[in-house]
C-alpha cells in the first residue's frame, strides 16, 4: 500500500503574532515552528495503517523553505519512510488551490492508495487543500475524521457532526481523509527513531517544476479585529447598584424600553 501524508509547518500557536509589512501575512521573524496539529494526527494514522498492512510505504510531503525539513524529520521519526520536500520560499502567499495543484502534480503518477491531510492548517485555516487535492486526483474524500479503520481495500471512518452526532462513512481506496482532533494520540518520536530518521530519504524538488495552476484568490489583508469596549464593573451598596444597573439598561439597551 502506497500512502501519502501532507504536512505543513506552522508557528507555535502560543507565539505573539505581528502583522508583517505587506499586511497580507504575519511577521515570521523570531517564531518557533511546529508540525500543524491536525497533520500530526494524519501522520500518526498513516503510521498505524502501515503497522497494520505489511509492506506499506509512507511518503511525507511538505511545501516551504528549507526549515520545513525540521518538521519533516519529525514525521520521519514517527515512522514515515521517505520525505518529499517541495522547496518554496513563497508558500505563505499561495492560495489553497495553488497548494493543492502543486501536491497533485507531484502525486498524479505515484498511485497513492491513501492520502492523509489535516482538516485545516492552524495558521491559514482554509480547510480546502485536502478536498481540492482529492478532486484534482479524482479520488473520494472524507473530511474531519475522528476514527479510521481499514480492511481489505475499504476504509471506514467516523466524522464528527454538530450536536454530538457522528456519521460513519465507508468507501473504497484510493481515498483522501482530512484528520480532526480526537482521531488518535500522536506518538512521541523516540530517540532511537529520531536518529534512524537521519538516514531516511528526503528528496527536495523545486516548486517551479510542479506549479501549474495560478492562484484563484488573494488575501487582501490580515488584521487584528478591533477591540470591543471593555466591561463595566459596578461597586458599592447592592440596593444602589440595582438602581444604577436599571438606569444603564434603560439608557444603553432596549431590554427595558
Amino acid at each position: 500500500m502506497n500512502i501519502l501524508v501532507c504536512i505543513k509547518q506552522v508557528p507555535d500557536m502560543e507565539s505573539k503574532f505581528r502583522i508583517d509589512a505587506s499586511a497580507a501575512w504575519f511577521d515570521t521573524a523570531d517564531l518557533a515552528w511546529r508540525m500543524n496539529e491536525y497533520d500530526e494526527y494524519g501522520v500518526e494514522q498513516a503510521v498505524r495503517l502501515k503497522e497494520q498492512v505489511a509492506g506499506a510505504d509512507i511518503t511525507v510531503l511538505s511545501i516551504g523553505p528549507d526549515k520545513v525539513k525540521e518538521t519533516m524529520k519529525k514525521a520521519l521519526a514517527m515512522g514515515c519512510d521517505r520525505g518529499v520536500h517541495i522547496t518554496d520560499s513563497d508558500v505563505s502567499r499561495r492560495d489553497p488551490a495553488e497548494i493543492a495543484g502543486i501536491i497533485a502534480e507531484y502525486a498524479r503518477d505515484k498511485n497513492f492508495d491513501m492520502i492523509f491531510t489535516g482538516m485545516q492548517s492552524q495558521d491559514r485555516g482554509s480547510g480546502q487543500v485536502g478536498v481540492l487535492l482529492a478532486e484534482m486526483l479524482s479520488c473520494a474524500a472524507v473530511t474531519t475524521i475522528v476514527d479510521f479503520s481499514y480492511r481489505e481495500g475499504r476504509i471506514e471512518v467516523k466524522r464528527e457532526l454538530e450536536g454530538g452526532i457522528r456519521a460513519s462513512v465507508a468507501l473504497n481506496i484510493p481515498a483522501l481523509v482530512t484528520c480532526q482532533l480526537g482521531l488518535n494520540k500522536p506518538r512521541y518520536p523516540t530517540l532511537p527513531n529520531i536518529m534512524k530518521a537521519k538516514k531516511k530519504e528526503l528528496l527536495s524538488l523545486p516548486v517551479e517544476d510542479l506549479r501549474k495552476l495560478e492562484s484563484r484568490q488573494q488575501t487582501a489583508r490580515i488584521y487584528f479585529p478591533e477591540k470591543k469596549g471593555g466591561g463595566l464593573v459596578l461597586e458599592g451598596d447592592p440596593a444602589r447598584l440595582a438602581d444604577e444597573l436599571i438606569q444603564i439598561l434603560k439608557q444603553k439597551t432596549s431590554i427595558l424600553a
Binding site: E14, S15, T190, L191, I194
Partner: protein, 593 residues
C-alpha cells in the same frame, strides 16, 4: 570552529572568539526533536500527576521511568553495543533541561541516568554490562548510587561501610549504612561504595534482592517529596566477587568522576527549572490585579522579571557552552579502544572547574528565581495551592547535593591552581601581566562600534582582577592557600561570574545577526542587565578577597584595582530592564528559547 581546543580553566587567561562557543541556537534538527519529545512527554505524562507523585505514589514514578525507557530517554549515555545511543553532551543536557519541569520525577530521572547508570557505563566489565545495562537503559530496573553515610557526606572517603571477602573467596560481605539514597525505595540496582579490609575504597554492584540488603524508611524531606530518599542498610550483604565495579581500591575515581558529569547535568536541570518557575511568575503577574492594574505593569515586579530573564539567559549560555567544550574534547577520543572510558574520564575531568561552575551558578540562579516567583505571588506564593510554593521547597536541595556549593566553590580555584602548578596553565605569567596592568594607568577607550563593547571590556578587566587576587593569594600563602577557604570562595565567585558573563556575551555576539531587530534589542538588554550583575558580584567578591589577603599600601593598591577592573558603564540599564520585562509579559514566556 578554530582548531584549538580550549583547556579547562583557560578561559581565565585568554580571549575567545564567539565562533568557538556552542549555543542553543546551534542545536541540530535531531537535538531539537530530542528536546520536543522530552518536553511533550513531561508536560503530558508527568506534570498532570505531580501532586500524586509528591504524595509518594512511587508507582507513578516507576511507570514514568519505564515510559522514559520506551522513548529512549535513559539510553543517551550508554554505548551502542549495549543498545545505547552514545549521544553528545549537548543532547543529554537538553533532555535534562526539559525533564526538569517534572519536579520530583526529574530527580529520580537524574539520579537514574547520572550517578545510577554512569558508573556501570564507565567502569563496568562486559559481563557486568551484559547483565545489567539493558535493564537499566530500558527502565525495567531503576538505579541508585550509595556513597553518603550518616557520618560522611562531603568527606566521602571517610566512609565506614566495610567489605570483607568470604572464606571461600566467592563473595564480599558488606556492612554499613548508606544514607540519603535517591531512588532507594524502588531501585533494583545499587552502586555501593565500601572499604575492603577497612582500607581499599571500592565500588560494588548490588542487587536489591541480594541477601542482607534492607531498604530503610523514607526520609521526610523539605522538598522534592515525590522522589524516594531512604537509607540502605547492609548487614552481611552477600555480593559476588564478579560484582566489584572497577578496580579494588580505586572507588574514589568512580565516585568523583561521576560527580563531574552530575554537576554539569544538574546545571542544565536547574536551568530548566528556572525557566518553568519564571514563566509561572510572569503569568501570575499578568493575571493578578491590584490598584486596578496588572501587577506586571509595576516597575517593582518588572525589575524582578527582567533580572531573572537575564540570569537565566546566562545560565543557559553557560550550560550549553560547557556542553560544547566537552563534546569537542570528547570527539577527539577514538571510540572503542580499551582505554576509551579512561580517556573519556580525563576529557571530562579537564573541565572539572567548569562543571562545578555550572552547578553553583545555575543552582543559585534557580534559588533567586524561585524566591522572586514566590514574592511575585505575594501571599499566594506561600500557600501550596499555587506551584510557586513547591518550586521554593524543591529548589533548596540543589545547593546541597552533588557536592555542596561550598565544596564546589573550593574546587573551582583548587582545580585551576592545580593546573597552574602542573604547568598546564601559565597562570603565574599571566598574573605578572595583571600586576603590571594594575601599576599602569589605562587609557583604553571602549569602541562603541563593536557589539557588546562595554561588556567585553568588563570581561577582560574581570580576568585581570581574578589574576591579581589569585596571584596575591598564592604569593602570600603559597601551598597553604588550600587552608584559606574564605579567600578561595571569593576567588571562585569571580571565576564563576567571568565564565557566566563570557558565555553570555559570546553567545549573544554569535547569534545576534540571525535575529530580527526587535529581538536584537532584547538580546542587548539581557546582556547589559546580566553584565551589570556580574560586575557587581565579581567586584564585591574581589573587594572582600582583597581585605582577606592584604593590608596597608598593597591593600589600597588592590582596592583601587578592584574599582577600576569591575567598573561597568551600564547606561540605559533601567530602559533595558523595562524592555525585557515588558516583552516577557507580553509573550508570557522566557524570551530566548
Amino acid at each position: 570552529m578554530t582548531e584549538k581546543i580550549l583547556r579547562g580553566g583557560e578561559y581565565l587567561i585568554c580571549d575567545i572568539p564567539c565562533a568557538d562557543v556552542f549555543t542553543p541556537e546551534d542545536f541540530s534538527d535531531e537535538q531539537k526533536q530530542f528536546g520536543e519529545t522530552t518536553e511533550r512527554f513531561v508536560t503530558n505524562e508527568i506534570v498532570p500527576h505531580l501532586d500524586e507523585i509528591d504524595k509518594q505514589n512511587f508507582d507513578l514514578v516507576v511507570e514514568g521511568m519505564q515510559k522514559c525507557g520506551e522513548l529512549g530517554l535513559l539510553m543517551m549515555d550508554a554505548p551502542e553495543e549495549y543498545g545505547g545511543l552514545e549521544l553528545d553532551k549537548a543532547s543529554s543536557m537538553l533532555v535534562a533541561e526539559k525533564i526538569s519541569a517534572g519536579g520530583s520525577f526529574s530527580v529520580a530521572y537524574a539520579a537514574h541516568t547520572g550517578i545510577g547508570t554512569l558508573p556501570l557505563v564507565y567502569y563496568g566489565t562486559p559481563g557486568q554490562k551484559d547483565k545489567y545495562l539493558e535493564k537499566i537503559i530500558s527502565g525495567q530496573w531503576c538505579a541508585a548510587y550509595c556513597l553518603t553515610e550518616p557520618g560522611s557526606g562531603s568527606d566521602a572517603l571517610g566512609a565506614q561501610a566495610s567489605a570483607l571477602l568470604s572464606e571461600d573467596g566467592t563473595h564480599y560481605l558488606l556492612n554499613g549504612t548508606k544514607q540519603y539514597i535517591t531512588n532507594g525505595g524502588f531501585a533494583q540496582l545499587f552502586t555501593v561504595f565500601a572499604k575492603i579490609d577497612k582500607e581499599h575504597f571500592t565500588a560494588f554492584l548490588v542487587e536489591k534482592d541480594f541477601e542482607g540488603l534492607t531498604v530503610g524508611p523514607e526520609e521526610k524531606k523539605m522538598g522534592i517529596k515525590g522522589s524516594s530518599t531512604t537509607p540502605i542498610i547492609l548487614d552481611n550483604c552477600r555480593v559476588p566477587v564478579e560484582n566489584v565495579l572497577g578496580e579494588i581500591g580505586k572507588g574514589h575515581k568512580i565516585a568523583f568522576n561521576v560527580l563531574n558529569v552530575g554537576r554539569f547535568k544538574l546545571g542544565a536541570a536547574v536551568m530548566g527549572a528556572s525557566k518553568v518557575a519564571l514563566v509561572t511568575g510572569i503569568k501570575y503577574a499578568n493575571e493578578r490585579v491590584q490598584f486596578k492594574q496588572k501587577i506586571s505593569s509595576f516597575g517593582a515586579i518588572k525589575e524582578k522579571i527582567a533580572d531573572l530573564t537575564a540570569d537565566i539567559y546566562a545560565s543557559e549560555s553557560l550550560v550549553y557552552r560547557l556542553a560544547g567544550l566537552l563534546d569537542t574534547k570528547l570527539a577527539t577520543i577514538e571510540k572503542g579502544g580499551d582505554n576509551y572510558y579512561a580517556a573519556y574520564q580525563k576529557g571530562i575531568e579537564e573541565y572539572a572547574a567548569e562543571c562545578g561552575i555550572s552547578k553553583v551558578f545555575c543552582s543559585e540562579v534557580l534559588a533567586r528565581t524561585v524566591d522572586e516567583v514566590v514574592q511575585i505571588h505575594g501571599g499566594y506564593g506561600y500557600v501550596s495551592d499555587y506551584p510557586a510554593e513547591r518550586y521554593y521547597r524543591d529548589e533548596r536541595i540543589n545547593r546541597i547535593f552533588e557536592g555542596t556549593n561550598e565544596i564546589n566553590r573550593l574546587l573551582i580555584p583548587g582545580m585551576i591552581l592545580r593546573k597552574a602548578m602542573k604547568g598546564e596553565l601559565p597562570l603565574q605569567a599571566e598574573a605578572m601581566k595583571a600586576f603590571e596592568a594594575l601599576m599602569t594607568p589605562s587609557f583604553d577607550a571602549v569602541d562603541e562600534a563593536i557589539d557588546f563593547a562595554a561588556e567585553k571590556a568588563l570581561l577582560k578587566n574581570l580576568k585581570t582582577l581574578f589574576l591579581i587576587l589569585a596571584g596575591t593569594g598564592v604569593q602570600k600563602f603559597m601551598d597553604k592557600i588550600a587552608d584559606e577557604q574564605e579567600i578561595l570562595m571569593a576567588a571562585a565567585d569571580i571565576a564563576i561570574q567571568i565564565f557566566a558573563l563570557e558565555s553570555t556575551v559570546l553567545r549573544a555576539e554569535k547569534t545576534l545577526s540571525a535575529f530580527s531587530e526587535r529581538k536584537q534589542e532584547l538580546l542587548r538588554a539581557a546582556v547589559k542587565v546580566f553584565a551589570f550583575r556580574a560586575s557587581e558580584e565579581a567586584g564585591s567578591a574581589a573587594r572582600k578577597g582583597a581585605f582577606y589577603v592584604e593590608e596597608g599600601d598593597t591593600l589600597t593598591m588592590i582596592l583601587s584595582g578592584v574599582r577600576r577592573f569591575s567598573k561597568f558603564d551600564a547606561t540605559g540599564l533601567l530602559a533595558a530592564k523595562r524592555l525585557l520585562a515588558e516583552a516577557s509579559c507580553e509573550e508570557e514566556k522566557y524570551l530566548f528559547n
